[in-house]
Amino acid sequence: MADKIFRVNMSTLSTAIEDVPANWNGLGGRGLTSTIVAAEVEPTCHPLGGKNKLIFAPGMLSGTVAANSGRLSVGAKSPLTGTIKEANAGGTAAQMLARIGCKALIIEGLPQGDTWYNILISADTITLSEETELVGKGNFDVVTAVQGRTSEKHGIMTIGPAGEMKMHSANISIKDPDSRLRSCGRGGLGAVMGSKQIKYIAIEPTEAKVEIADPDKFKEANRTFTKALVDNPISQALGTYGTNVLVNIINEAGALPTRNFTSGQFDGHEEISGETMHDTIVEREGKPKHNCHTGCVIQCSQIYNDSDKKYKTSGFEYESIWAMGADCCVDNLDQIAEADHLMDDIGIDTIETSVAMGVAMEGGVLEFGDGEGICRILREDIAKGTALGRIIGCGAGSVGRAYGVTRVPVVKNQAIPAYDPRAIKGIGITYATSTQGADHTMGYTIATNILGVGGSVDPLSHEGQVELSRNLQIATAAIDSTGMCLFIAFAALDDETCLPALVDMINARFGINLVAEDVTNLGISILKTERAFNEAAGFTNKDDRLPEFFSEEPIAPHNVVWDISDEEIDTFWNF
């Protein structure tokens, strides 16, 4: 059965299942969402208006048994940044979409009235229904209710109150195998779904399998690939401490943004570290290891219980913990876990919202260190849509504008994540030049700047940072198209068997003959497509800049500023 494009038009309330255009055939994940946005969305359109489109696409290998291949890409023009946007997450949806033969789901147009809708898709039908019961509900209630209406095996993609209120930090949540949530977090894609008045999309389970052109070759390549992942020591550490293992090393490197980016080290780092989190999880009978999708062999997620040994949160990530922890000076992991849970339920990006809280603290809305205050604002303001809640829910830039704060860590209006660019200069290049606003995952130079993966580039030097970021951004765009979790990159950068096995799997899946260079070229072509969209939307190289405070305020302990020139930043695009 050939893959199809599933299309829903919310203006006419009509649906269609179409053949895949020939030039989209070799694409998946981010490569496909960005290609469709570039082809079908007017770059200058209002992101929450009728001309924007919301695209869901499983990766090229999603739905197969390839290890770690269950990432779902969601794309649109971002209401937060005004740029093209792709956010990806695990959960069950990518694999389920691939198995029903959905190469991409495109949602276009806007409904005319106030009616909300839900969508149910299966291999050959798209059902659009009016929704009343779940409007205003949090994501956890939505999952419970939709499973009651359908089955526990259905896939679910949902928005919470933040998406309904079109807050620019709203995310799209994807149900995981335990009926909990993973988030396509960044850039406000939940607001785009909210603008189209779709509360959730459910996917019917199927017994069908993804067709593999050469099953024997695929199996062999997957065996090699899986071994490379499992044997990698970073994979093993991720399974023990989660991504939060980074708190202590980034703090030690003097690059842990603290107190709204005024210091590079946090006194309370041990209290919020991966080591403390691991011990707490074990003591409270949670699970240090947990997979966000079937087939993940790294298992960086976890189940974090409260002090009564009851489930509190999962997918408790370094970025979220840093942002509520060091950046807001909260040294209480339980308060951070509560806030993480609340943000999952409200459906709002933990990075953007927590950095916005840090800016709000500087603006005098609440005190630094007030973890209870963060939870109160989440419950009483953001979830309920008060004026303050909407200001914070529209991100760090929004808070800065409303409260007259000038130290606002954003690029293209998207909050800078957990690595200070003054002390790790490679990641500053990524923040500045990324096609999607500040985002560490676009070109994760931390690997080479700090972790010694893929070689070593001194984080405090100018040398080699642009080239490092460029190479990683190209590779990442390609990986984000395969459906692979980005954490395969740790093995791919240092284990020479890993990438060839990945290319072999793609070839065996589709019966094609790509070589490594083709994969690099795919990454280059995705970046250029995204860049061209942004330029047509009005962005120039003047937008590829960090906020001026990074150049003016030295950060402890290294007492360094951002000092890579604009001309040097602009050489990024020389390829």
Binding site: L246, E252, A253, E275, Y318, T441, A447, L451, S456
Partner: protein
Amino acid sequence: MAAEDRISITVKLFAFFRDNRFKKQEQQFPANTTVRDIILFQGINPEEVGVTMINSRQCTLDQIPVQGDQLAIFPIIGGG
């Protein structure tokens, strides 16, 4: 060896290197002791070491810390 030939280093361990060891400890070493020797002194296999920093700056295993330095020793880790 005379006492003045010994230097004091604050050694910090992370992740599973802490198991049955410590988080942070001040230790005495002869002057000219390399980072590698300090790692071996902890009973840690240098091949398991991913990152070392002296006073928050990346260092090599051949580097020689001086009196009062802080040496941080991490296994091979990653996240993001």
